[in-house]
Amino acid sequence: MPDLLIELFSEEIPARMQSRAAEDLKKLMTDGLVESGLSYASAAGFATPRRLALTVEGLGERSPDTREERRGPKVGAPDKAIEGFCRGAGVSRDELEERESDKGRFYFAVIEKSGRPAAEIVAEVLEQTIRNFPWPKAMRWGEGSLRWVRPLHSILCILTTEEGAEVVPLEIDGIHAGNTTRGHRFMAPEPFSVGSFEDYEAKLKRAKVLLRAEERQELIWHDATNRAFAAGLDVREDRGLLAEVAGLVEWPVVLMGEIERRFMELPPEVLQTSMKEHQKFLSAGKDGRITHFVTVANIETADEGATILAGNQKVLSARLSDAAFFWENDLRIAKEGMGPWLDSLSHRTFERRLGSEADRVARIEALAKELAPTVGADPELAAQAARVCKADLSSEMVYEFPELQGLMGRYYSEAAGLPPEVAQACEEHYSPLGPSDTVPSAPVSVAVSLADKLDTLSGFWAIDEKPTGSKDPFALRRAALGVIRLVLSNGHRLGLLQTIGSANGEADAEDLLSFFHDRLKVHLRDEGIRHDVIDAVTAMPGNDDLTLLVKRAGALSDFLKTDDGGNLLQGFKRANNILTQAEEKDGVEYSFGADAKFAETAEEKELFTALDTAEPVIDEAMEREDFVAAMGAMAGLRQPIDTFFEAVQVNSDNQILRRNRLNLLSRIRRLCLSVADLTRVEG
């Protein structure tokens, strides 16, 4: 069984695309090989900045021979039909066989294909893979028409058996496959040949290339934490950055340097962001402060990186000088009350039809003030926080680092001497941003965050810019989920319809509410609550109170999972079906007057008693919004309903009995529907 080794050697592949590309190479190749009849034992893909590699072990030597028999037209069929059949089967007319079958005499074609050697199949599949590779963005170069992520320079493709390695003959747009590659761009640029995957990986290592991304990442993390530890420091963990840095080097060399003291006044987040965004440095420090940077070079030098470190330090100082300059300018404006920033909000367009940022802030302020009592916040503080929450958008620091919006708002509000709740709200009012982001709980933050999101949603609803399909340019789904999580995790009772009305009278509040319900379904699905359960509760009154809605949904979901719940649902459906049919047939509504004195059987009487007992309990529990208690009482009805249906024929010939029984079913229906719209529950 031969082993296959492939390497696609190119100019530098963007770091963010590497690991996906290694997986795609593996998938496309192995799928293609299997489809062509070659099995394999195992496969693995690898990527460095300059190469994608694939090893496949235990590949079949050739694809199996195949033989297929196909029945064609009847003997004596028109020539055209016979010719068509021959074409389709790829045989000539004189190769057809005539055979007798129970339906008559037919032509048969026997199609025999002999298997092909692995090399031939590999060459074919690799060419397909290269030509159709799913790069997020690909390009052409020189005079060619081949597309790759960056110019492709060489292809290594060998099959290795016990007898040795053989190059798979292959040529794509002038690139001939071979058995050679190159090492590190500067430290080992000469080509060398390889005979197997083990040989390849070992020789690469000697040529200063670590093939495995995990190995590079581990080495970087290990060296970085060691160096930091030796200096009594910790490295701030940042997995994404680490992965990116490991994709920028073939031979990581970790260097740690000190940040100049004059930058220590900058907030640590600014240091970290500036170093990460501009230079892809990891941050190190202790006690919440950042004092050092870790950079990863791609080369070993005679001076052990001294020149490189000095250069990086210099670039960092220039960058941080900019940041310090922004910080000082911003602090001056903040300490004077942020006046110019607030003024400039009126010059920033939020959306043409929705006015300037200043208009928007005024709306958020009014809404935050209105929402404040509901979420337990001081209305004046909420209003004050809303007024300044967007001020930092005009600061120089946020202009340079947009990802620091909010956080800088907090620093600047503190500098302006505003109350701590206001400063906190400036930072937190963008949250939560995603489904797993932390949800603010401080009342002022919650008020402003809700107001901000509800203003955006109702505003875009008013101008009819709703998300469609995959298009959601204003991130309205995220805003709606934010509202949902804010309300639910804090357990606030908020009438959304009225709030939407206050936010923007021109928005179609009912339509926006159903958008919330859709987002809620997605949110609750992740928590294991079925969509039909949510349908059953959104059909109930008070459905714009999300906390109530979810409480009801949760209770119903739990109830339906119990044995009693499932059976009660069946009993309800049966009662409802019989009743609905009878009502349709008779043209009347049976909703009143079931009388126990007409009850004939013990089972019927028992149901009367059970309903008499359960009704007040359920009604009272519903009054208290205690859905668990209400459903607990409903569970008690399961047994009497089941036995009733087993023993009693509702549609009796006696019209009095029949009417009485239908009215009895109606009590079941009313009682069940008062808890949730069970007609919408599936099953």
């Binding site: 530098e12 770091a15 020189g142 992520v149 000095a310 210099k314 367009t349």
Partner: protein
Amino acid sequence: MAQKPRSFQEIILALQTYWAGQGCAVLQPYDMEVGAGTFHPATTLRSLGTRPWAAAYVQPSRRPTDGRYGDNPNRLQHYYQFQVLIKPSPPDLQQLYLGSLEAIGIDMGMHDIRFVEDDWESPTLGAWGLGWEVWCDGMEVSQFTYFQQVGGHDCHPVSGELTYGLERLAMYVLGIDHVMDMPFNAPDAPQPLSYGDVFRQTEREYSRWNFDVADTDLLFRHFEEAEAECRRILEEPDTDPKTGREIVMAHPAYDQCIKASHLFNLLDARGVISVTERQAYIGRVRTLAKLCADAFVRTEAGGAAA
């Protein structure tokens, strides 16, 4: 390795000599105000069509919004770019580029050179390409791009473009912290001049004019006029009635496109273009760039059959 340069101009001279040695025609700057070396017709127009091309040149570039009155250590409203354009892009372009760094005294054995993803796009030119910013010890020293589309036309063959930000690169090589302190000519010349001696005053003058004094009504009008003239030139018939020859005036029209682009930059610096209008103006310049590209590919230099 070459001797370490001592001044700004030595770096320019070393780059010119190096690329001349690689077979590039060393051109001179284009005689118009542009935002970047890419705007020079030797790049924009010559990257179109099928005819091979290889040119290198310095291009003074203007970015009015970057003016800092000469105070900022590395931000300028007028600066120099060194530009190389080779069509078709040669297979060893990365090696050639690294050779140019050695030519200005950067020792590959001592420094950390990296190619970091950076896809280039010019919305005003209707152009894009893939490539990298090149880092030397964490500093961006060049932009390296394989042009895929220019003026809305697919590039066939593909040009390789290299852009060096000369001041920043030179400051790094010379170890200078403030651009105005950088020696422009040899420090031991009879009249040693610093970058500041040459440009400090003009930075101050232009910063004031760009930000506060430029007459915006006039600039708006000039924008309209350049736009109209560009279109008018291209609407003329291909055959010149006087000489009877086919003369498509792609370059004169493109000059008007460059003008419109720079006028837009000036208006932007004056802060009179709103966020929503901004896109519209960029779109208007792009339309002109596309019309010019359409015209150029109908000319001989643009690869049309003579």
